[in-house]
């Protein structure tokens, strides 16, 4: 589904990602762990297509297409989704309107008619309920005056409505209390199937207790230095990044 080959990325001349390889197949959940500044968020932005990142070398293939040829919205409509670490606040735009516009953009891209208003209301209500998002909140401006936890739930709501093939969760667990963490994880697990894949970026093993990954990768200084299964996350929790990075090099 996603194949990253020898990726080199820099921002304003500074190298951030230095030869990263990663293949994610259909139905797999991969966790990416690493210390601050190792390139985790940069990778998520590059995958979603944010401006300001220079691809110096390497290739990214997504569902057989060259991902780097696609604009941000084309990537999203092709099934790629990034749940942001810091979701943007959009004053003046009602949350439900934003969700409807997003879903209709995808439907248009797929050659489908606009979503029926009643059907949409039903869909959004049931999904929001599962995540503990009130209907009052859907009427509020998107992410404006939301708490940190509410913003993350909103990202998961968008994800469950857009049903991506490939979802990247960028530190979705940061700033969440235990209850919110459980709710958000359940939201992810509900979407999990043989048809779609996840890249879960996190600092902590805790999230992975809820979202069990098939593979765990450790990134340090812009490269994946070690890969393994869930036990690698446990090992990391015990020994810390410094130890693991040393072993790897």
């Amino acid at each position: 589904m996603l194949k990253i080959d020898n990726l080199h990325v820099s921002i304003e001349g500074k190298q951030i990602i230095k030869g990263l390889n990663l293949t994610i197949n259909k139905g797999e959940v991969h966790a990416l762990m690493g210390p601050n500044g190792s390139g985790k968020s940069t990778l998520s932005y590059v995958l979603s297509g944010k401006e300001g990142y220079e691809i110096d070398k390497g290739a990214i293939e997504y569902n057989g297409k060259n991902l780097l040829d696609l604009d941000v919205d084309e990537r999203a409509n092709s099934g790629l989704f990034l749940a942001f670490q810091y979701p943007m606040e959009i004053p003046g735009v009602q949350t439900s309107f934003f969700l409807k516009t997003a879903i209709n953009s995808k439907r248009k891209f797929l050659g489908l008619p606009e979503v029926d208003a009643l059907e949409f209301a039903k869909l959004i209500r049931s999904q929001a309920e599962d995540l503990g998002i009130s209907s009052e909140m859907l009427k509020r401006d998107l992410n404006v005056n939301y708490s940190g936890g509410e913003k993350k739930k909103q990202e998961i709501l968008q994800m469950s409505i857009l049903k991506p093939d490939m979802a990247i969760l960028d530190e979705t667990d940061s700033g969440l209390d235990i209850d919110a963490l459980r709710i958000v994880s359940e939201g992810v697990n509900k979407l999990r199937s043989e048809q779609n894949s996840f890249l879960v970026i996190t600092h902590y093993q805790r999230l992975l207790n809820y979202i069990k990954p098939d593979y765990v990768h450790i990134i340090a200084d812009g490269r994946i230095v070690k890969s393994g299964d869930f036990t690698l996350a446990l090992e990391l929790e015990e020994k810390g990044y410094e130890d693991i990075s040393k072993i790897a090099s």
């Binding site: 297509g49 941000v72 989704f81 990034l82 959009i90 516009t101 857009l162």
Partner: protein, 363 residues
């Protein structure tokens, strides 16, 4: 540089007008309240303006005001009664010297909504609202090319209520002086919608007595040339509230200006004043000047003002795109979101819908 001529009671009115006109604002661009307006310039543009036709057929209970609904009046003595402190409007003097005047009493009409198409009149217009019944007046100043200012004076008696919607669209030159005089316990909501203009200036002079409220909202989009809004709101008695919000989106190499002052008299305790001016610049050729001012002589008041000039937030655009919404649509939604506060202030749902449609066509 000439300084503003102050009117004192000993001065003969014709003398005063003459003196003011000697300091012709169209020649003198250095005066503080006029310096951004570039009135001395004959601003031309290659843009050919489309004729804007207001179609209010969707609005029920509406009366189109005609000249026969108005009475001739002489406003020259009015210049003498002028008591706004430490500021002056050349537009007021110029308009009253150059034009005859008429008055319209809104309470004479049964209809709830009145439509005043300024293209049907050449005169200054004084509008009186005496009783408590809520009325809405739509003031349409569109398709103008007229360098002589015009005055529209709104007088509200005690307890009177009035909503004003002003459409200023497709003007190559339009210079308007609005004056709102509010007696005790009166309420005014004024929304001005300005688009597709080349050279405009609107002045809003407002005077509040006790326990009044004034909401003044401005929306300015898709203009060319120089478009100027100046406001002076004076609180002359205690316990009144004014709320002013001006939003501009500027592109096409246009210039948009906002200058607004809240003045609080020494006796006007418990005044609650708020002013916000925000401009969004869409390209590198355009320009926005915002100048908020407070002048407060009472010590128990709440007054705040804010002003921003910015470009569209590219991170917000990216967020939309990351959810599959293309850039064009994202820009439209974000522009509308920026302006929405001004149109939400419109109370009548039919006029609100009409205004939203007008905006959608310009995004």
């Amino acid at each position: 540089m000439n300084t503003a001529v102050k009117l004192d009671s000993s001065m003969d009115i014709s003398n005063y007008s003459e003196k003011v006109l000697l300091n012709n604002p169209f020649e003198n661009f250095k005066l503080e309240n006029y310096k951004y307006a570039q009135l001395h310039k004959n601003i031309s543009s290659d843009v050919s303006l489309e004729h804007y036709e207001i179609d209010l057929s969707s609005i029920s209970s509406i009366k189109n005001l005609e000249l026969s609904d108005a009475l001739d009046i002489d406003l020259h003595s009015y210049l003498n009664k002028w008591n706004y402190k430490n500021t002056d409007s050349y537009f007021r003097v110029n308009s009253i010297s150059e034009r005859s005047s008429i008055k319209i009493d809104l309470d004479l009409f049964e209809e709830e909504i009145l439509h005043l198409d300024l293209s049907l009149f050449k005169e200054n217009i004084q509008i009186n609202k005496v009783n408590e019944l809520q009325k809405t007046i739509i003031i349409n100043s569109s398709n103008f090319s007229d360098h002589i200012p015009r005055s529209i004076i709104l007088n509200l008696s005690k307890n009177a209520n009035l909503n004003v919607i002003h459409y200023s669209i497709s003007n190559s030159k339009s210079f308007l002086y609005f004056e709102i005089n509010q007696q005790n316990n009166s309420n005014v909501k004024f929304i001005t919608f300005q688009s597709d203009n080349i050279h405009t200036r609107n002045e809003f002079f407002s005077s509040l007595e006790e326990n009044c409220s004034l909401d003044l909202y401005g929306l300015n989009i898709h203009n060319h040339g120089v478009n100027d809004n100046y406001s002076f709101i004076q609180h002359m008695k205690p316990s009144s509230q004014s709320r002013e919000v001006f939003k501009s989106i500027v592109n096409n190499g246009a210039v948009t200006n906002f200058q607004g002052k809240i003045y609080v008299d020494p006796v006007a305790q418990k005044t609650d004043g708020y002013q916000m001016s925000r401009s969004l610049i869409l390209d590198n050729d355009s320009k926005a000047n915002n100048k908020p001012e407070l002048e407060i002589y009472a010590d128990d008041v709440k007054c705040s003002h804010g002003s921003t000039v910015s470009k569209l937030n590219q991170d917000q655009v990216y967020y939309f795109k990351s959810r599959g919404i293309n850039e064009d649509q994202a820009l439209k939604i974000l522009q509308k979101a920026f302006l929405v506060e001004t149109l939400e202030a419109i109370e009548n749902s039919q006029i609100k819908e009409y205004s939203y449609n007008l905006l959608e066509m310009r995004l």
